[in-house]
């Protein structure tokens, strides 16, 4: 285990940023998001969570896929460049770190998404352990250990010192590059912090969520539960939950005519939107209850069916905090699966 005093951490950031793009939780106008590091940026490693999750680094909010040029009846197509340089995402919490493995199962499944794949190949993730969870955190229900994120490098902050431990080859390579800034350390402080944190985790109000119902009952039965209607009755149909969710991966592909070519780009989309499934005047999910059900069925039922029992949720609690009407996956899970508990 290595360490660096937080007081000098800016030097570390500058050193990483000198050779690679570095994304960090940075505060802008009062909110913290993963943004590219620049000198003087207000880095907020203390912030438990960013508004958007770290998935932005691999599956960005919007990205150009290709550009077309037309000339009479002819078309030419030029694919957008994939990321081909290493970059570092620093300060990823354990929940967000887990979300990458959930996203991988979708984006890297055959045929792989080359844009995502390129970013995954070049992205080096430095995880940051949690020591002060919020009441909305429930990652432990998904077997996540927030005191030790599954990342290329894992970091802990304790008492003004950042502890650093490479977990993968990528992480080791990065450590090598910046070894000048790090010094060796024992694991005592980290172990103590982890123990302390684990005690807090046990006290979290949502620490023992019983989700077994969703794995033990047939898809169709859950789908047909009458509670969906009531649960969705006040849903605004906005995209807040999907846009802050680390595992939501729906996207749209759109064309934009710039006047000198047509850009085909993809951007996040939300299955909560009324036009999500609207195609050529046919809409397969006509009402909000259908859309609402789709989102939560996907997270709680379809994902485990398709991906070896893994839920499409990492328990980050973002939707619990951000939903305008305070409806969220926990309420859905408890309403539908409550009697199993």
């Amino acid at each position: 285990m290595l360490k660096i005093a937080l007081a000098g951490i800016d030097r570390l950031f500058a050193a990483i940023a000198a050779s690679k793009k570095l994304y960090l939780p940075i505060e802008n106008a009062g909110e913290v998001e993963f943004s590219e590091y620049s000198e003087g940026a207000k880095v907020r490693l203390d912030a438990l969570q960013t508004v958007k999750s770290a998935k932005d680094a691999f599956f960005p909010f919007t990205e150009n896929m290709m550009q077309f040029h037309t000339d009479g009846k002819n078309i030419s197509v030029e694919a957008a460049k994939r990321v081909d340089e290493d970059f570092v995402v620093f300060g990823v919490r354990a929940c967000d770190a887990r979300s990458f493995s959930i996203l991988d199962k979708v984006f890297l499944a055959d045929p792989p998404d080359s844009f995502y794949a390129a970013r995954r190949a070049h992205g080096i993730i430095v995880g940051l352990a949690c020591h002060r969870p919020e009441e909305t955190c429930f990652c432990t229900n998904f077997g996540i250990d927030p005191t030790k994120p599954e990342t290329d490098v894992t970091a802990w902050i304790e008492d003004g010192v950042l502890y650093w431990e490479a977990q993968t080859e990528k992480g080791k390579a990065l450590t090598e590059e910046i070894s000048a800034f790090l010094e060796a350390s024992d694991e005592k402080a980290v172990e103590e912090q982890r123990e302390r944190t684990k005690k807090i985790l046990e006290r979290l109000p949502l620490a023992n969520l019983d989700l077994s119902y969703f794995k033990t009952h047939p898809e169709l039965e859950i789908f047909k539960r009458p509670e969906w209607k009531e649960l969705s009755s006040h849903c605004l149909g906005c995209g807040t939950c999907t846009f802050v969710c680390p595992t939501c991966q729906c996207y749209d592909i759109r064309d934009y005519n710039t006047g000198h070519g047509i850009v085909r780009y993809r951007c996040w989309d939300s299955c909560m939107y009324s036009d999500f499934t609207l195609m050529a005047a046919v809409n397969s999910r006509k009402s909000q209850v259908e859309r609402f059900r789709q989102r939560f069925m996907h997270k709680l039922v379809y994902n485990p069916i398709n991906h070896e029992g893994e839920f499409g949720c990492v328990g980050c609690g973002r939707c619990l905090r951000k939903c305008p009407i305070s409806m969220n996956i926990v309420k859905v899970a408890k309403t539908l699966g409550g009697e199993q508990a």
């Binding site: 290709m66 077309f68 009846k73 045929p111 169709l220 064309d255 005047a281 046919v282």
Partner: protein, 277 residues
């Protein structure tokens, strides 16, 4: 199956021929800019066609994989993109990517079976590819029977090919029907589901069915009444797909993705899925 390195970046295609089949269906012949077939596929698979700036859409490949020269798509005018496609003139380039979907199991489950194709309206498009594939590898399949209906005789897609090539072929029976009587029509009149009941079909057939949802529903009901089991019947789902590669999140039916797990399903498989989306 052939796979291009760039799944998400389309190739280019040139529309070499546009044929008007019915008042709202046109068939487009597409080749690569080099004049070859744009991509290889299996019967029942689809491809994404697009006009940059207008949109991208998933369409059944109508031509058979055995057609070496080109690829054909029969497309009904029903929205923004299809309206633009209907305006196309030969020589116009489009973008094309695919093939997508599972296709009909022509080389496995269907092999050696007696086949009954039931199609309504533009629903012939995905079956067209299978029919011609089976005709090409005639020895691999048993009897072939085709029931095809449409609103009127003007709405029968590919009627020329049906009458000139399919009907005269030995071991291949074609039953045409239209919804309402019409001058100049000597054939059968009536809805497809009812026609199915009138035809004295033997139960030793594997059925491939495609058409409007309501037609499929009643045809299936009538087939079951005749004694067909749901395991005997295949259909292909409506094509509400966007990315084509099981990622964008639109085309789920329950836990299945139409674009990856479908669009061809056997009815007993569908029974395990929600009947809504």
């Amino acid at each position: 199956m052939m796979k291009r390195p760039e799944e998400q970046i389309p190739a280019l295609g040139v529309v070499t021929d546009v044929r008007r089949d019915t008042p709202d269906v046109k068939t487009f012949r597409v080749v690569s800019p080099e004049g070859k077939k744009p991509l290889e596929h299996m019967p029942g698979q689809c491809a994404m066609l697009s006009l940059p700036g207008i949109g991208e859409g998933m369409f059944s490949i109508t031509s058979s994989p055995t057609q070496e020269e080109y690829m054909e798509f029969s497309i009904k005018k029903c929205g923004h993109l299809t309206s633009w496609l209907h305006e196309l003139e030969p020589g116009q380039m489009v973008t094309i990517r695919g093939p997508y979907g599972n296709g009909f199991p022509v080389e496995t489950e269907l092999k050696g079976k007696n086949l009954l194709f039931i199609a309504g309206g533009i629903g012939l498009a995905p079956l067209h590819s299978v029919i011609n594939y089976c005709r090409h590898y005639r020895q691999n399949y048993g009897d072939i029977e085709i029931i095809y209906g449409s609103r009127s005789m003007d709405d029968l897609v590919d009627i020329r090919e049906i009458q000139e090539e399919w009907e005269p072929e030995e071991g291949l029976k074609v039953h045409l029907t239209i919804d309402r009587p019409q001058d100049g029509w000597n054939g059968h009149v009536g809805f497809v589901p009812n026609y199915v009941k009138e035809l004295n079909l033997s139960l030793d057939k594997t059925v491939l069915i495609c058409g409007p949802p309501i037609m499929i529903k009643f045809t299936l009901q009538n087939l079951q009444e005749l004694g067909f089991s749901r395991e005997q019947v295949y259909t292909t789902m409506e094509l509400r797909m966007k990315c084509g590669i099981g990622k964008c999140g639109r085309c789920n039916i329950g836990s299945k993705y139409v674009c990856k797990d479908g669009p061809v399903f056997r009815f007993d498989q569908l029974d395990e899925l929600p009947d809504e989306y």
